[in-house]
C-alpha cells in the first residue's frame, strides 16, 4: 500500500441539519492520513450536500438504493471499483452495515476491503435487542420495551411511568410526559421506521459517547470518549469534548469484548445523576458524526480503521487528549449546475478538491463597525451567519461584532468571521434586548446594527429613536409596519388577497376550539396550523389539527393560524427596502432542499420579475423599511404563487445572494449608514448548498465566552 495512494469509498454524506457521519469521516481521513489519500463518495442522490463540500471528496458516485437489491448494488460498486481503483469501503449509515457485511466477500473478490462486525454482533445491538444483550451480560441499561402494536403504547407507557423516551426502531427519540404525547410520537415513529416503537426508561444524567475501532480479533485499536456539552432540540451533540474517565473507558472496553466486534462502533451512555453509574443507551455500528474530534484529539479513528483494513501491524492509537472540543457550525458553498447535471446523468462527478478559502479578515482603520445578531446554528441556522459572511470582505466594513445569546452560538467560534463576540444575557425579552444592544454601543462601538432574529425585531423597532440617540444606525420597519407584516395581520384578511404576482392564501385565526372547527370546515385537509411567530404543522385530520392547536396553546401561544395548504414548489425572495419603502434590491430563489424544520439547505436563483414587483407593491403598502424575506409556494396545478410568510430580517441563506453579486446585507448597511449603495448585478450563479461542519474549539475561548460574555478576536487568535 505504501507504493501508491489509497482510495477509500464511503457513504453517509447527506443528512442536512442532522448530518450523516460520512463527511466527518472523510475530513478526518484527509486531515490525518500521512501522505495523499483519495476519497470517493457513494451517494444515493445528487443532493447529498456533504458530498459537494469543497475539499472533502475527490469524486462523487451515484449508487442505487439498497432496496434495489444486492446484485444491482454490487454490480455498480464493482463498476466504481474498476474505474476508481477503490481499495476499501466504509459504510457510514446504520442500515447499510448489515447489507455490506453480506456482500463483503464479493467486495473482497473485487479488491475492496471492509472491516465490519459479524451478523451476530450486529443483531445483538439493534435497538430492539440491545436491552436483552445488556441484561445477559450485566451491563447497566435503561429498562426498554418494544411495542409492536401502536395501540398498546398508551397502556404500556402508563405502566412505565413518566417521563419516558419513545424511540423509533432505527433512529429518533422523543421524551414524553404523558400517554397522549407517547401515542402521538409513537404513531409518527412507527410510520417512519416500522416495527412499532421502543419505550425506554428516562435516566436523568449527562450524556457521553465512546467512538471505537476494533480489529478483526475484536481487540480495541482506538477509543475516543466524549461528553456532550451542548445538546440541541433534536438531541444531537452540537458541542462536545473529549474526556478520559477510567470508569467509562473500562465499561466501553468490556462491552466491546462482549460484542466480539470488528470495525467502527459508537457506544452512547448516560451517566446517572443519582448513582454516577454509566448506563448504555445505544450502540451504533458506524462512526459518529463527531468523529473528526478524534483527529483533533490526536487519536484519529478513521485513519486507524483504514490502516486496519489496508496496512499490516497497525498500532493502538494512544490516549486522546482530554478537553479537546468541537462545535458544529455550517459551511455554505456553490455547486455549478453543470456538475450536478453531470452527476445525475453519468453517475460520476469529480468533486471540488480545494477547500473553501476562508474569508480574509483585512485590518482596516476606516470603515463601519457592524453588529450582527443571530450567529448560531445550534438548533436552526440563524441568519446572522450568512449576513456576516456577506460583509466580511467588504471595504465599507472595518469590524464585525457578533452578538449572541449563549456560549454555544456556533459561529462565534469562527475566528475568521468576527472581530469580536458579545453575549447578551439569557432569556431576555424583546424590550430588554433593545437595552442590551444599546449597551454594546459603549462596549463595542457599534455604528450599525443588523438584528437578525424574529423575536428581536419588535423591541428594536419600538426603540428606534433611542438607538439613533445612542449613535447606532438601523434600517428597520416602524412598529406599525412590523404589525402589518406579521402572520396574524396577513391572516386577518385586512390586506387584499390578490397581488397580481401572488395571492395570500385563505387563513383563519384560531383562538378557541370553535375557531378550529370553523377553519377545518372551510379549509379541509390537509391544512396548515402555524404559530404567529414560528412553527407550522401540516395536519391531515381533525385529531391531528387539535393536537397541533393544543401544542401551540400549551406553549403559551394563545393564537395560531389555520391556513389553506398549498401543494407545490417553494420559493423565497430576499430584499431590502429603503427608508422610502422602495424595494431597492431583491434576490429570488427556488428552494431545492429543506430540512425537517423547514430551513433552506439547497436553492437556486431564479428570475421572477412579476413576483418581485408584486412583493415590492405589498411592502410599499405596509410602509416597510429594512431587510426582508417573503416565502412563497407555487401551486402545482394553477402555477399561482401564494405568499406564505414575510420575515422581517434576512433569510439564513442570504450569503448566496452576496456570492451571486447581489450583496443585500451590504446594501442594508450602506442605507443604514447613509453611504453610497453598492452596485447589485446578479452573475451566473451556482446552486446554493449548505452542510454541517465541525470546528475545533479552544476550551479557553469557550470559558472566556461563558464567564466574561465577550471575546476579542485578537485574543482568540493569540490562543
Amino acid at each position: 500500500m505504501k507504493d501508491r495512494i489509497p482510495t477509500i469509498a464511503l457513504t453517509g454524506l447527506g443528512g442536512l441539519d442532522n448530518p450523516e457521519p460520512g463527511t466527518s469521516v472523510a475530513r478526518a481521513l484527509k486531515k490525518g492520513w500521512s501522505g495523499d489519500i483519495r476519497i470517493e463518495g457513494l451517494t444515493y442522490s445528487a443532493w447529498e450536500t456533504g458530498a459537494w463540500s469543497p475539499g472533502v471528496l475527490d469524486g462523487i458516485n451515484l449508487v442505487p438504493p439498497l432496496t434495489s437489491g444486492r446484485e444491482k448494488v454490487l454490480e455498480r460498486l464493482i463498476e466504481i471499483a474498476k474505474d476508481r481503483a477503490i481499495d476499501a469501503l466504509i459504510p457510514c449509515l446504520d442500515l447499510e452495515v448489515p447489507f455490506y457485511k453480506r456482500i463483503a466477500g464479493k467486495l473482497r473478490e473485487a479488491g475492496i476491503e471492509t472491516l465490519l462486525p459479524s451478523t451476530e454482533s450486529l443483531d445483538a445491538v439493534t435497538k430492539p435487542s440491545l436491552a436483552a444483550f445488556c441484561h445477559r451480560h450485566d451491563i447497566a441499561a435503561p429498562k426498554t420495551l418494544q411495542v409492536r402494536d401502536i395501540n398498546d403504547v398508551p397502556v404500556q407507557a402508563d405502566q412505565f411511568g413518566y417521563p419516558l423516551l419513545v424511540k423509533g426502531t432505527v433512529a429518533d427519540a422523543h421524551k414524553v410526559s404523558d400517554a397522549k404525547q407517547a401515542s402521538a410520537h409513537a404513531k409518527r415513529l412507527d410510520k417512519k421506521w416500522g416495527n412499532g416503537v421502543l419505550l425506554q426508561q428516562y435516566i436523568q444524567g449527562e450524556e457521553y459517547c465512546v467512538a471505537m475501532v476494533a480489529r478483526t480479533d475484536g481487540s480495541c485499536l482506538g477509543m475516543v470518549p466524549m461528553r456532550k456539552l451542548g445538546i440541541n432540540a433534536r438531541g444531537k451533540a452540537v458541542v462536545g469534548a473529549v474526556v478520559n474517565d477510567p470508569a467509562l473507558e473500562e465499561e466501553a472496553t468490556r462491552i466491546l469484548a462482549l460484542l466480539d466486534w470488528c470495525g467502527p462502533l459508537e457506544l452512547e451512555f448516560i451517566k446517572s445523576a443519582s448513582s454516577g453509574r454509566f448506563f448504555l443507551v445505544e450502540v451504533n455500528c458506524r462512526f459518529p458524526s463527531w468523529i473528526l474530534l478524534s483527529h483533533w484529539a490526536g487519536c484519529n479513528l478513521p485513519v486507524a480503521l483504514v490502516e486496519g483494513m489496508l496496512c499490516d501491524g497497525e498500532q493502538w492509537r494512544g490516549i486522546p487528549k482530554a478537553g479537546t472540543a468541537y462545535v458544529r457550525d455550517v459551511a455554505e458553498f456553490g455547486v455549478p449546475l453543470t456538475k450536478l447535471d453531470h452527476l445525475q446523468r453519468l453517475r460520476f462527478q469529480r468533486a471540488e478538491a480545494s477547500p473553501v478559502k476562508p474569508a480574509q479578515k483585512i485590518k482596516r482603520n476606516a470603515g463601519l463597525s457592524v453588529g450582527i445578531t443571530g450567529v448560531s446554528a445550534f438548533n436552526v441556522v440563524q441568519p446572522g451567519i450568512g449576513v456576516a459572511h456577506s460583509l466580511r470582505e467588504c471595504t465599507e466594513v472595518a469590524r464585525l461584532v457578533g452578538i449572541g445569546y449563549g456560549a454555544y452560538d456556533t459561529a462565534a467560534f469562527r475566528s475568521e468571521l468576527f472581530d469580536e463576540i458579545h453575549m447578551l444575557p439569557d432569556a431576555v425579552d424583546a424590550s430588554s434586548v433593545a437595552d442590551e444592544l444599546r449597551k454594546l454601543k459603549i462596549q463595542a462601538g457599534l455604528d450599525v446594527l443588523l438584528p437578525s432574529l424574529d423575536f428581536e425585531i419588535p423591541g428594536v423597532a419600538e426603540s428606534a429613536d433611542t438607538f439613533k440617540k445612542a449613535g447606532i444606525e438601523l434600517l428597520m420597519p416602524t412598529a406599525a409596519s412590523v404589525r402589518r407584516c406579521g402572520k396574524k395581520y396577513l391572516a386577518s384578511g385586512e390586506l387584499k388577497a390578490d397581488w397580481e404576482g401572488f395571492r395570500i392564501p385563505e387563513s383563519h385565526l384560531i383562538v378557541s376550539r370553535s375557531d378550529l372547527d370553523q377553519a377545518i370546515k372551510e379549509l379541509g385537509f390537509p391544512m396548515v396550523v402555524k404559530g404567529v411567530v414560528s412553527g407550522a404543522d401540516i395536519v391531515h385530520s381533525a385529531d391531528d389539527a387539535e393536537a397541533s392547536w393544543r401544542a401551540f396553546s400549551d406553549s403559551g401561544r394563545e393564537v395560531c393560524i389555520g391556513q389553506r395548504f398549498v401543494r407545490g414548489e417553494e420559493f423565497a425572495v430576499a430584499g431590502v427596502c429603503d427608508r422610502k419603502h422602495v424595494l431597492v434590491g431583491a434576490f429570488p430563489i427556488k428552494k431545492l432542499l429543506t430540512c425537517e424544520l423547514g430551513n433552506t439547505w439547497g436553492a437556486t436563483a431564479v428570475e421572477a420579475p412579476k413576483l418581485v414587483s408584486a412583493m415590492s407593491e405589498l411592502l410599499r403598502t405596509v410602509k416597510y423599511t429594512g431587510p426582508v424575506e417573503a416565502e412563497f409556494i407555487r401551486d402545482i396545478v394553477t402555477e399561482k404563487f401564494y405568499l406564505i410568510e414575510v420575515n422581517l430580517r434576512f433569510p439564513a441563506w442570504i450569503r448566496y445572494a452576496a456570492q451571486s453579486g447581489v450583496n443585500l446585507p451590504l446594501l442594508a448597511v450602506c442605507l443604514a449608514a447613509g453611504l453610497p449603495t453598492p452596485e447589485l448585478r446578479a452573475n451566473d450563479t451556482a446552486v446554493f448548498m449548505r452542510h454541517s461542519e465541525e470546528i475545533e474549539i479552544n476550551p479557553t475561548t469557550l470559558a472566556s465566552l461563558l464567564t466574561n460574555g465577550h471575546l476579542k478576536r485578537e485574543l482568540a487568535e493569540a490562543l
Binding site: 461528553r227 462536545g240 477510567p246 482530554a322 479557553t700 470559558a703 461563558l706
Partner: protein, 129 residues
C-alpha cells in the same frame, strides 16, 4: 488583604466547585502517600484527572477536569496555588507561592489556602498524603 482564591465554573458562573463536585464521578485514587519535607504536615498533589491550561489573556488559566470535560477559570492566587500543587506541596509551600507573587498577609493566605484545599478535596481534584 484576603487573597480570595476562586474557581469559577463557566457553565454556571458560580464561584464554587461544589456544583462540580456533585456531578463528578467516583474516581480512582492514587494509592501512594506523599511525604512532606517538614515532618508530618499534610502534603497535597493535584489529581491526575486535572489539567492546567494557561491562558495568555490574564496570566492565569483554566482547570480542566479530564473525567467530565468541565472547564473552570481561576483567578491569580488560585492559579498560583494550583501550579504549586501540580508537583505536590504542603501548606507552607502554598503560602510561600502566593506571597512571593502577591502582597498578602501570610496568615490570611493560610486561611484562604486551607479553604481552597478543602474545596479541591471535595471536588476530588487533589490527593492528600
Amino acid at each position: 488583604m484576603r487573597t480570595q482564591n476562586t474557581l469559577k465554573d463557566p457553565a454556571t458562573g458560580r464561584e464554587e466547585s461544589g456544583a462540580m463536585a456533585a456531578a463528578l464521578s467516583r474516581v480512582r485514587r492514587n494509592g501512594h502517600r506523599l511525604l512532606s519535607d517538614d515532618g508530618d504536615a499534610p502534603k497535597w498533589q493535584l489529581s491526575g484527572r486535572i489539567q492546567l491550561q494557561p491562558s495568555p489573556e490574564d496570566g492565569v488559566g483554566l482547570v480542566i477536569d479530564t473525567y467530565t470535560a468541565r472547564f473552570c477559570r481561576c483567578n491569580g492566587t488560585a492559579w498560583s496555588m494550583l501550579r504549586t500543587l501540580a508537583s505536590g506541596a504542603n501548606l507552607e509551600q502554598l503560602i510561600s507561592a502566593v506571597t512571593s507573587e502577591y502582597q498578602a498577609e501570610p496568615d490570611l493566605v493560610r486561611e484562604d489556602a486551607l479553604d481552597f484545599i478543602a474545596r479541591l478535596k471535595r471536588a476530588e481534584f487533589v490527593n492528600e498524603g
